[in-house]
Amino acid sequence: MTKIHVTTTVNGDPAEFLADPRETLLDALRDQLGLTGTKEGCGTGDCGACSVIVDGVLVCSCLMLAAEAEGKTVETIEGMAGEELHPLQRQFIEHAALQCGFCTPGILVAAKALLERNPDPTDTEIRYWLAGNLCRCTGYDKIIRAVQDAAAEMRGAA
């Protein structure tokens, strides 16, 4: 099958690869670009472990074809920290908001997208925003608290 040449920007760096027409963005990120921080929990858009941001929009990378990333800007968990951790990342560690940590990259990416639109979300808003990100370990309690505290910190309220 003829492969498609894809040129894109991932975490601020130019990236190029040859995609099988059936290949998902998730597989391209993981297998072609070696960015294995984005996880596959279901491959059907139900768990959110594969969450990335494409041109500013939160998407399930398992539901997007790699070829659709042509000319787009992709942000993954690997691009979230600068020299220092993002406040969400630090608050997740400090709150013990991860147990196995497998859902964590997707939840962090989704929570970052939330706080960029809504810097002061209520508990309910966080819970509904993250309803597409399954976590089987934590019962979500510490995740919600970590997002709240990160939001407060980013607003300068902490």
Binding site: D27, T36, K39, C100
Partner: protein, 749 residues
């Protein structure tokens, strides 16, 4: 990092430092099962049965092998013969023999140069089936006329006259049941059912296997126990355990489901056939749900006698459980002893049968057997409390097991904390919140044995006075942190100076998996013993330097000190000083501890839940939820709370939405997360926790183990709360909205 409470006198235990693997896990650097790759690696896919029960007439792999880039195919014919017992079960489950026994049963596997190509090739493998009659329901499987799934599965324990699908029977008890029932003011008897649920870890099973033609191999795999992987793969493939080196990846949840093998021998067998090229095999979510460890489904009869004052005079259970098409997988051996473990009742009779059915081979799931048993027994206790107008906590305090009680299953309890959890639940503000219309409150207690098991740990002192600890129990929820805290506490050095690593099978003696709530208990206990050895050696080195007797040296605050004025006057010699010169004072300093850990402390918890049921739709909303559980000692309280919260939410899922739905064709109808619905963030409130600490005398720091009990009480507690809210008692899970709505209508008459 403030201490939660200072009562213990510990410096570090009870604090909440950051876990050492936290940074890797929030940055995407941590490597899980599917994140490994090797040069020249192939990718594999598995062909699975679409039928619940069928004879395999023929497998034609020629078209698949003809595809460019396909390197190997394996079927059962490639595996050795002559296995027996559980080894044969494992092999039969890895690849079907002449018959497939459930929807999703593996039939063949193929390796190719890409994952997409492997999937294409799998589709080209043509399997001819002769469909056989099937049965998936536990009661239907032992009813007269049910299709016989396998001949000759019944062992000696099965009474005459039972259906051939009944594989095992168990019974035990004590006291005079009839006299106990006769002494009661009311005797009630009901049947309760729970559906199979899946552990639901978000990370699908994944491994990379490599094996040469000499039968030596390596494996990288997400697992709760890599020695188990080694032993099981060796058995299924007919190789020697020592020839297989297994390295665990980070693990994306297990809950018992990653204590066994599914795809791992396939990756190795394919690699061997493909000339030793490494093979990556990653399950899809549907494969996980169709073919890996769900828990058992259960049908349970319970009978109880109670006096008007709430005294329970006698209890009787008969449990029927199916754990798939393989013998030995239903947890009857755990469910029965858990059934009345929270109580001290003078007369008890326990009976259970294991039935096989055309479902996947069940695997352990968090406190295997205990949640079902609790649903049955705690539900009936609650029904009788409501009938007699008694407070459910008072009734449990009155009948509950205490220190030194004879347990319902035989041994005497030593020091246990059930009563303390009940008192703490009673005193908690959640128990006093007034309830509104359509709201109800439920209470239940739960139990898990906890577990010791085979454990091997080693510890080495560094040249700079730090310590590295090698453990064999994969870290699923912060156990590196808890073990690091205990070792640092013992050595008297900062937490940051202890590095705990999970190491591969070649680096330690055999370790059982992280299961049975044992990692912090058993690996922690062994790590402390290893540290004790290292301290003894460090004291010897100091004594030699000072020219005094080693017995005259004591260890405190990370340094050797002369013990008392008679030992001589020497300044303390720190672990850093001893480490710096150990090369010239006798060589490296380390400690090892290998043991089948004893001194396990039983775990009890009590939950209180408030729900609101929408009378129009039957939908249940959890308003508030309280977990009270005895941790023994909470080494890292944040991760203890996390276990309580996570266990409770899995139990909430089991109670309200999760179930395996089989069609009339015997196929699983909901093998995706959209339809197999685990709780999501918007379903839930915060989960309140109270950590009770009744230290376990069998552990140097009082640890019991906290992982499992939390999933047990939610099933009956939520059913009780729904009964309170609606007046309708539902005796089968899940409490899905249509079922609740129908029950409300029926209750109204």
């Amino acid at each position: 990092m403030a201490k939660d409470e200072l009562k213990s006198g510990y410096k570090l235990i009870g604090t909440r430092p950051n876990r050492p693997d936290g940074l890797d896990k929030v940055t995407g650097r941590a490597r899980y099962g599917a994140d490994f790759s090797l040069p020249g690696m192939l990718h594999a896919a598995v062909v699975r049965s679409p039928h619940a029960h069928a004879r395999i007439k023929n497998i034609d792999v020629s078209k698949a092998l003809a595809l460019d880039g396909v390197k190997a195919v394996v079927t059962r014919a490639d595996l050795p013969t002559g296995l027996s017992g559980e080894d044969l079960n494992l092999q039969d489950n890895t690849l079907a023999g002449d018959r497939v026994l459930y929807d999703g049963h593996a039939v063949a596997a193929v390796a190719a140069t890409s994952a997409l190509l492997a999937k294409d090739a799998a589709r080209l493998i043509a399997v001819e089936y002769e469909i056989l009659p099937h049965v998936t329901d536990v009661d239907a499987a032992m009813a007269p006329g049910a299709p016989v799934i396998r001949e000759g599965v019944a062992d000696y324990s099965v009474p005459e006259g039972m259906h051939p699908n009944v594989a095992r029977y168990m019974a035990f008890g004590h006291g005079d049941l009839e006299a106990g029932l006769a002494a009661a003011d009311i005797v009630r008897e009901h049947t309760y059912k729970t559906e199979a649920t899946h552990q639901g870890y978000i990370e699908p099973h994944a491994c990379v296997g490599q094996m040469g033609e000499d039968g030596r191999g390596e494996m990288w795999v997400c697992t709760q126990g890599h020695w188990y992987i080694r032993r099981m793969c060796a058995a299924v493939l007919g190789i020697e355990a020592a020839n297989l080196r297994v390295t665990p990846s980070e693990i994306g949840g297990g809950f018992g489901g990653k204590t066994t093998i599914f795809i791992e021998p396939l990756a190795l067998a394919l690699s061997k056939k493909a000339g030793g090229r490494p093979v990556k095999l990653v399950m899809t979510r549907s494969e996980v749900l169709r073919a890996t460890g769900p828990t058992a489904s259960a049908s349970m009869d319970v009978k109880l006698g109670m006096k008007r004052d709430g005294t329970i005079t006698a209890g009787q259970v008969f449990f029927r459980m199916q754990g798939g098409a393989f013998v030995g997988m239903s947890p009857i051996g755990e469910a029965l002893p858990c059934a009345f473990a929270c109580y001290d009742i003078p007369a008890l009779k326990h009976e259970a049968v294991e039935v096989i059915a055309n479902r996947p081979k069940a695997a352990a799931y968090r406190a295997p057997g205990s949640p079902m048993a609790a649903f049955a027994v705690e539900s009936l206790v609650d029904e009788m409390c409501r009938e007699l107008g008694l407070d459910p906590i008072e009734v449990r305090l009155k009948n509950g097991a205490k220190n030194g009680s004879r347990s319902s299953y035989g041994p005497d309890y030593t020091v246990i904390g059930l009563q303390e959890t009940l008192e703490a639940a009673k005193a908690h503000p959640n128990y006093k919140v007034p309830l509104g219309p359509n709201q109800g409150r439920g209470v239940a207690s739960g139990f898990w044995f906890n577990h010791g098991g085979e454990t091997s740990v080693s510890l080495a002192v560094g040249e700079d006075g730090t310590a590295t600890v090698s453990i064999g129990t994969p870290d699923i929820g912060g156990s590196r942190a808890s073990i690091g805290l205990m070792v640092a506490e013992f050595l008297g050095i900062p937490y940051e100076n202890v590095r705990v690593s999970v190491v591969e099978t070649g680096a330690l003696g055999v370790n059982e998996p992280t299961h049975g709530s044992r990692a912090t208990f058993a690996s922690g206990k062994a790590a402390v013993e290893a540290a004790r050895q290292a301290v003894a050696e460090m004291c010897r080195r100091a004594a030699a330097d000072w020219g005094i007797d080693p017995d005259a040296v004591e260890w405190k605050d990370g340094a050797a000190h002369p013990a008392g004025p008679n030992a001589g006057k020497f300044p303390p010699m720190s672990i850093g000083e001893i480490g710096a010169k150990m090369g010239s004072t006798g060589g490296p300093i380390s400690g090892h501890h290998e043991v089948t850990a004893e001194g396990v402390g039983a775990s009890f918890g009590t939950h209180v839940v408030d729900v609101e049921v929408d009378p129009e739709t039957g939908r249940t909303t959890v308003l508030r939820y309280l977990v009270v559980q005895d941790a023994g000692t909470a080494i890292h309280p944040a991760y203890v709370e996390g276990q309580y919260q996570g266990g409770a939410v899995q139990g909430i899922g089991w109670a309200l939405n999760e179930e395996y739905v089989y069609g009339a064709d015997g196929r699983l109808q909901n093998p995706v997360f959209l339809d197999y619905r685990v709780p999501v963030a918007s379903d839930l409130p915060m989960i309140d926790t109270v950590i009770v600490e009744v230290p376990n005398p069998g552990h140097p720091y009082g640890v019991r183990g906290v992982g499992e009990t939390g999933i047990t009480p939610p099933l009956p507690a939520i059913a009780a709360a729904v009964a309170g809210a609606t007046g309708a008692r539902i005796r089968s899970l899940p409490l899905s909205p249509p079922k609740v709505l129908a029950a409300i209508k029926a209750a109204k008459g």
